[in-house]
């Protein structure tokens, strides 16, 4: 890397990569532009790179119209994600703590079972029969309890705890601490980055879940924003019945405005969070990829 002069290759390469990156985010921007535009311009096909007739009426309409369930879906998803992430981080940490103690004789076979059931998935039907037996159908707990431990993040957490020097634990024992104190006071402060990493991954996977709620949460009042999106945007595109043009506060909203607003609303929380948790994502991906 001695010669620092900028060559033609550099310019072309940088430009191409920036264009590719733009292509990656353009679809997201496009739905945002559609949602922010006035429906009359949309109908003429005039919205491509910037919103036209800027307004927020589409967002207001889809959130305040109870028939569309967008607000219910959003608040359900927030609640499931919040509780589910809290439960998952706590359970995963506690379980990994026990399984990384060499004093705990049963750690090997329990860990093996976590790995085996991870590699060899039972499939959705046997899962349904068992979850149904535990009363998980039309029960919000299905979004929180079964996924409270993901074997992948359990392995990551256990590997991390294995790396903490044994002397720390022994010193704490000498000072009269028990396992509970060691787990909560000695080890926990060392794990803040780890918690942020697995917490971010758990939160995103719960927020993005589609198949699980689609199978178990049939009651409309319990549905997640992803399910609402399916019925409002996708099912409607094939049947086309939900939306007529709406005129609100002097602005025409057509079905494209409203669908785009719904799509953007569903991804907004993630996009807002992304810049802050991005570094943890990269860490998590590399940790996960080590184990395959």
């Amino acid at each position: 890397m001695n010669h620092k002069k900028i060559s033609v290759f550099d310019i072309v390469n940088n430009t191409v990569l920036l264009i590719i990156s733009l292509f990656c985010v353009y679809p997201f921007l496009y739905v945002l532009f559609l949602a922010l535009s006035d429906g009359t311009y949309l109908a003429k096909g005039e919205v491509t790179f910037l919103p036209k007739g800027l307004n927020l009426e589409a967002f207001r309409y889809i959130i305040t119209n109870p028939r569309l369930n967008v607000f219910t879906g959003l608040s359900n998803s927030f609640i499931y994600t919040f509780l589910g992430t809290a439960a998952a981080v706590i359970t995963t940490y506690i379980t990994a703590y026990v399984l990384s103690r060499s004093r705990f004789k049963h750690r090997f076979w329990i860990m093996s079972l976590f790995v085996i059931t991870w590699v060899f998935e039972a499939g959705i039907i046997p899962q349904y029969i068992v979850y149904n037996a535990f009363g998980m159908v039309d029960n919000p707990a299905v979004m929180i309890i079964p996924g409270a431990i993901s074997s992948q993040f359990l392995i990551i957490t256990k590997t991390f705890l294995d790396g903490i020097p044994k002397e720390l634990e022994e010193a704490a024992f000498v000072d009269g601490a028990n396992d509970w104190v060691i787990m909560t006071r000695v080890y926990m402060p060392l794990c803040t980055t780890l918690f942020a990493t697995i917490g971010a991954f758990y939160a995103i996977s719960i927020w993005n879940q589609y198949l699980l709620p689609q199978i178990y949460l049939k009651n409309e009042q319990l549905q997640t924003i992803q399910q609402v999106l399916k019925s409002v945007v996708i099912t409607d595109s094939t049947s086309g019945t939900t939306f007529q043009n709406v005129i609100q506060n002097g602005i025409t909203l057509n079905q494209q405005n409203l669908k785009s607003a719904a799509v953007f609303t569903a991804m907004l929380p993630l996009v807002c969070l992304y810049p802050f948790v991005q570094k943890y994502f990269k860490k998590g991906i590399l940790l996960g990829s080590v184990k395959g």
Partner: protein, 322 residues
């Protein structure tokens, strides 16, 4: 002195009875036993339980009778699979999607990361990495909804362009021949940034001395890329290839279930979506046993694939998955 340290100093192993040993273990580690309870119950109920329930593949399962009360029918359900003419379409669709993934999708993040590695301006590198990774975290429902919006025959940007050039609007999501291209493009869009992170990490591990030596010998940037960087990440490439071959039968089910509709079943229906429909969308009585049997066959073939491909790869590279 706490009991734990005392035991490490002197432990007359084997002298005590089993009962005494268990008692000592419990008195010393009872907190660990209490702490493992939630994790163990989760494992037992929600991870091992469903594996146990797979026995319904050998039954004529009826929800009213339960697993214990249903009739055992041996391998009848498995025999039925081989007489099901629709299976051929399903397997074909599944394998074509997998081959497309390997041939078209697989090389893209490698090329992307090779060129990203040549970028010297930090902000370009950072921007490209952040923006390309973003779609990985967006849900299948949002991605497919965006595809519907962009491709919509009623004013989506693609059809607007087609109309501007004098063409007729195409209803892409209802055309069987468009299902695979759209699926593949969504996959590239969603996963390129993610896979590139793994390759970039591998590139970072290449010994810088190799590049310095090559510069002394007058190597060009292209030469360094092809002769140092690419061979340097070959192990990662092989490992990733093994994973994708092993995952031939693992499609993105969320994406397919959101994208497909009866008019594109001929190309879009795969084994898992068929199993899903048998169980959760059947008009009559859901055939849980048959669906489970289909899924077991799929899992067994997938498992054999992973193991054999791994053996094959270890012959050629120093990389092993398990």
């Amino acid at each position: 002195m706490p009991a734990i340290l005392a035991s490490r100093v002197s432990n007359p192993a084997g002298k005590k009875s089993l009962f005494q040993r268990i008692k000592k273990d419990l008195s010393r580690n009872y907190i660990l036993y209490l702490l493992i309870v939630p994790g163990f119950l989760n494992l037992l109920f929600f991870k091992i339980g469903p594996v146990g329930a797979m026995v319904i593949a050998f039954q004529d399962y009826s929800a009213a009778l339960g697993i214990l009360g249903s009739h055992w029918v041996g391998v009848d359900n498995f025999v039925r699979i081989f007489h099901d003419p629709y299976m051929i379409t399903l397997v074909e669709n599944t394998i074509i999607l997998a081959i497309l993934s390997i041939v078209i999708i697989f090389p893209i993040p490698i090329i992307f990361s090779l060129f990203l590695n040549e970028v010297r301006a930090k902000w370009v590198r950072g921007t490209a990495q952040s923006l390309s990774l973003l779609p990985y975290f967006i849900s299948a429902a949002v991605m497919v909804s965006i595809a519907y919006t962009i491709l919509s025959p009623g004013g989506g940007i693609v059809n607007n362009l087609i109309n501007n050039f004098g063409g007729q609007s195409v209803n892409f999501m209802a055309k069987p021949e468009w299902f695979r291209p759209i699926y593949v493009i969504l996959d590239i869009w969603q996963n390129t940034g993610y896979s590139a992170i793994i390759y970039i990490a591998a590139i970072m591990n290449i010994d810088p001395a190799l590049y310095e030596a090559a510069e002394v010998d007058g190597a060009t940037r292209w030469g360094k890329m092809m002769n140092i960087t690419l061979p340097g990440i070959s192990t990662s490439i092989v490992v990733m290839l093994i994973i994708s071959v092993g995952n031939i039968f693992t499609v993105n089910l969320d994406r397919i279930l959101l994208m497909y509709n009866p008019s594109v079943y001929s190309t879009a229906d795969v084994i898992q979506s068929y199993v899903y429909r048998i169980a959760f969308q059947s008009k009559g009585f859901p055939d849980y046993s048959y669906g489970t049997a289909v899924n077991i066959i799929k899992s067994v073939i997938a498992f054999i694939l992973v193991v054999s491909v791994n053996k094959l790869a270890s012959k050629y590279a120093d990389s092993k998955l398990f």
